[in-house]
Symmetry: C2
Subunit: 437 residues, 2 copies
């Protein structure tokens, strides 16, 4: 039997080697995470903020949010669901891209785009719904912007036999009929937000029946609706427990790099709020904090919305128009008007508190890139590696290409790992627009 | 370390175990395949038909088309490319669907939808382009209907550094801007057909500048253009060598079922012309012909276009308006007007000659299903298994569900294997329309 240079193409982690514990980075942070402030004008208190979440979060999430356990056991049912959706996801050696760039560097992609709902979001959706069901919730409420989380919530809820109630920013609802259809196909009850189903929604619609909505309003509507209807409210990227539950991605990647005999020099991930980036980089940040590696860990955002590059590190609201809580984070101000971008998943005025702290302590580097360059990087990935990344993920590819070209100039054998948060099938229209196809 | 029931979720074939030989079924057929007829009114002669292909097909394809070797070695470069795109593809145990159906049967899906260009088409595109380049071709010409093959040709050509020239049926070109954009993104030169680039195209446009085109005209235009421009003409589903090159799918599936300790009772695949179906089922048909298994092998088509169910077994043209060659196959007549269907990949008036013979000899069963039922099966797959199949593939799922329900009534532990030819991200609009979402 001929022996192939199999490692050169794809590092597949055997299913039996899937990590059994999530990595909670909280106890290892270089200084304690600043507590959130419950309300404008108040004083920091994580306890009071967690009390506000009672009844809408699962108790297990409240426990995980500020847990000092470094390892949190992944429930067996969640592990089984991970395997079901194709975890461990592959670590892909971008050999054809390397050849095209004529670089001395080696480029790897961690491929969350291979997940069936199209992005990494499903990882935490599975565990959130698992815990919520264990605690008796039977309606899952989610507020979604571009619809990536909503698509995962709708699909997993259908499988688990619970109801999904989705509020989707009205402008997205109108612009993304395919994602809306996907959620409907799963039997989800989906409403454009602002909606008639909450007091807040009705107040907006009264002023303007065509109100395009915003992620802030949708988030508050979802929480209000969930409270009134005893539903579980799924949480997004800024919370610690969501990052912990996403660490499965980085834990797999670390094992895969070890299998390949590689020590990474640069790790890159895009940031919307932080769960994608942190989920991928937590195990590497941990090694860096312990002095086990000096690898660079790079957060990349769009030029138009890069709070960690040109914002302030201060307390701010997660959603404009709310009274609290406030979190200490890099922010452009909660009322900052973010320009339209194809990468809707990266349009958030802030940065998750944990990631903000790591950037402030210079453990993580932050940078930003031009949309046109990003889309060209996505196109290059399709041309050379034959898969189309989500535009969000193409931010990481753009930096990976830049790093590979720098390595070439110095003839360095650098190992570059870029995180691919999702796939681009539903973003071809966006590529087409920006690239003038 | 806890041991998981990993096999229950997904059977992953190690990369080292990827098959190294394609399976050519020709020498095992129960009787010789009828030779094609070069021109209307002529007599059968495979030699004269192969002579017509000189210069447009690669010589290696002419050799493989009527080869009597049962095993054809897969070139190392092709194996490496297979690994690069994620072969072996997973065999997925549809456990959540089984639970929902409360069936005693076990259902497996062979998952070609996990390939990065969205369907199984890329398997043969890789090997066709590989051989063409080895023989000196540097332009790859493809005539595409719905665009699945075109997307694969564009992507692989970009990677391999050769030009791609795509002719796409004009009505599809207008209705499928996302697939067009994908091909453009890969740098392919894509023309709606009929086009101004061939005499045939110009003659149609002269009569009607808005001519919607047809797969027949596109196929002939592509061949004419390829001949005039010394380009290689990629071939589709009806040819023997294409089926042989697609047998990688079935060879993997067979190994995976063995790994799982399963003996299949029913295998199901959708048919457009036959390469998807044959590529999946060749190794199982071979076992059946040798008396090693009595499993049922089921070909499924749309009610609106099922030549093997209600057509005739006779010589017919592959494309209307051409003079030849003619192949003996199940056909609805080359001028049969096929109704519009979401599953465009299944809209062909005939059945590949090799598959036709097997149906005629009752080795393979043929059946057909209603579009609405198919789309409901696709939706059920999304709900329970969390991935959206291409509508074409949902035909196989519909029959798998029916078989599982029959097994339930008799409490049979039947093993059902359905072939998933592609993914549905770019078909959500079609689902939405048929399901009235």
């Amino acid at each position: 039997m001929q022996t192939l240079d199999v490692k050169a193409e794809r590092i597949v982690l055997p299913q039996d080697d899937i990590p059994r514990y999530w990595h909670n980075l909280l106890p290892e942070l270089p200084e304690p995470l600043p507590d959130p402030i419950p309300e404008v004008g108040g004083t920091p208190s994580r306890k009071r903020v967690m009390d506000m979440m009672e009844g809408v979060w699962a108790k297990e999430h409240i426990r995980q949010e500020y847990s000092d356990e470094g390892q949190i056991k992944i429930p067996d049912e969640v592990i089984n669901y991970y395997l079901h959706i194709g975890r461990p996801t592959p670590l892909h050696r971008a050999r054809r891209l390397e050849e095209y760039l004529k670089t001395s560097a080696r480029i790897y992609f961690k491929r969350e785009d291979t997940l069936p709902t199209g992005s990494f979001k499903i990882n935490t959706v599975i565990s959130q719904i698992h815990y919520a069901m264990k605690e008796g919730f039977d309606i899952m409420a989610d507020g979604t912007g571009a619809g990536q989380t909503g698509c995962a919530v709708a699909a997993v809820s259908a499988t688990m036999g619970v109801k999904a109630k989705i509020f989707m920013v009205r402008s997205s609802y109108l612009q993304k009929p395919l994602r809306v259809a996907w959620m409907k196909m799963c039997g989800a009850d989906i409403k454009p937000s602002p909606s008639n189903e909450t007091e807040l929604g009705r107040s907006y619609l009264k002023k303007n029946p065509e109100d395009p909505g915003s992620l802030g309003v949708t988030t508050v509507e979802t929480m209000d609706w969930a409270k009134a209807n005893k539903a579980f409210g799924l949480q997004g990227s800024i919370f610690n427990y969501v990052m912990t539950q996403q660490s499965i991605m980085g834990l797999e990647a670390k094992k895969q790099l070890e299998l390949a005999g590689e020590k990474p020099d640069v790790l890159i991930g895009c940031v919307g709020a932080g769960s994608n980036f942190m989920g991928f980089s937590i195990p590497f940040i941990s090694d860096k904090l312990k002095g086990k590696t000096s690898c660079r860990i790079v957060d990349v955002r769009p030029d138009e919305c890069a709070p960690e590059v040109y914002g302030e590190y201060r307390y701010d609201l997660l959603s404009p128009g709310t009274k609290g809580p406030l979190y200490k984070m890099y922010t452009l101000g909660n009322e900052f008007s973010i320009p339209g971008l194809v990468s809707e998943g990266l349009r958030f005025h802030g940065v998750a508190p944990m990631l903000s702290l790591l950037i402030n302590k210079k453990i993580v580097e932050a940078t930003s890139v031009k949309e046109k360059d990003v889309m060209e990087a996505g196109r290059l990935c399709l041309e050379k590696e034959n898969f189309l990344p989500a535009p969000e993920s193409a931010h990481a590819i753009k930096i990976a290409v830049d790093e590979a070209l720098k390595a070439k100039q110095k003839n360095e054998k650098k190992v570059i790992v870029a995180h691919i948060s999702g796939g681009g099938f539903l973003d071809i229209g966006g590529y087409s627009k920006v690239l003038n196809l």
